[in-house]
Symmetry: C2
Subunit: 203 residues, 2 copies
């Protein structure tokens, strides 16, 4: 049984504790990258975070819980970007471009984004369901932006469900080959993907 | 050690044997879908193929070898489609549209396409290397079509490497959610994806 802190976790209420939690999530992401999710234990994560294992367990009940919060935090960032775009008053193409760039910034983030998108299947079912539900919410938010652009006549009359899945599929696949410090920077990748995918939407 | 038949396998030289091998690959794909790759053994595959286990082992040395041939066969189909497009004399947009449709037909194929694209990591390293090498060849073939369109001025001046990865990422991600017999047909999906992605390329 995986223990999940509820909204008011032991460590809540303190900004310092929240900073520690964020630092742990980033250290965990680094450990996952280095050892693989299966190979990284709480000991490796504690080492990376420069905490004692006991201290680490004070903040998180286990590795699954840490991965869950990595994913949950990433999805919160994605949802926030979609919500900001929706209220930006910008034209539909600019809104989608903004979401695409934010999505890639998040998943190509050296800190915790990539692990958040690669390892959903590693979560135990109850946690996976929560992540999948939030991922679905995000997909619906992006789809609503696409549909609004179609309705406004800015985008071609394609099926928003399919086009949104094509876009998200292209974006998420980057974590399988992108390497920080490689030939292509995350910024250039984001620009090229945004230009290409937004162009595909236009009427 | 995984035994892999060489080009002139025991069963080669006979059309009937080749048909049996194809039927086995399709039966295996169905077994992988039903039980998962980890859960489907040679016994389940033999049952699906309506062969005795001994007869199955006459054609394939093991489950890894069967998955390898599923993937290898899929990649041959993809490479053939890219090669046909390249010599078709059609405009660049039509060539890429043709490749996109062929790719989706292959990976959404009820028979063996999807497993071929989802389970690369399940292969032992020597086989995985061969599949990855052929996948890279295919990526280069698609990229050459994109680059030719850019050079001809038909496509916008984007980086063919990145655009090709965006396209292939969108296409391959369909196997994660597409269900035969679901709300969207493979044909409609292929049309929408081709229109959207080709449109994104245009100058």
């Amino acid at each position: 049984m995986v223990r999940i802190s509820n909204g008011r976790s032991k460590a809540s209420g303190s900004r310092r504790a929240e900073r520690t939690r964020r630092a742990i999530l980033q250290a965990a992401a680094a450990a996952f990258r280095e050892h693989g999710y299966a190979g990284a234990g709480m000991r490796e994560i504690a080492e990376k975070a420069e905490l004692s294992p006991a201290n680490l367990y004070y903040y998180f009940g286990g590795k699954d819980e840490i991965l869950f919060y990595c994913q949950d935090h990433s999805l919160d960032r994605l949802l926030a970007a979609a919500d900001e775009a929706a209220v930006s008053g910008e034209p539909p193409a600019a809104q989608i471009g903004r979401v695409i760039r934010a999505h890639l910034r998040c998943v190509l983030d050296e800190l915790d984004g990539a692990s958040a998108h690669l390892e959903v299947d590693a979560l135990p079912a109850p946690l996976r369901r929560r992540v999948v539900a939030k991922r679905d919410r995000y997909e619906r938010a992006v789809r609503a932006l696409v549909a609004a652009g179609v309705d406004a006549g800015s985008f071609a009359g394609r099926d928003p469900i399919l086009v949104t899945r094509a876009i998200l599929g292209a974006l998420n696949s980057t974590v399988r080959w992108f390497r920080p410090g490689g030939a292509v920077s995350a910024a250039r990748l984001a620009d090229e993907y945004a230009d290409f995918l937004v162009r595909g939407l236009l009427a």
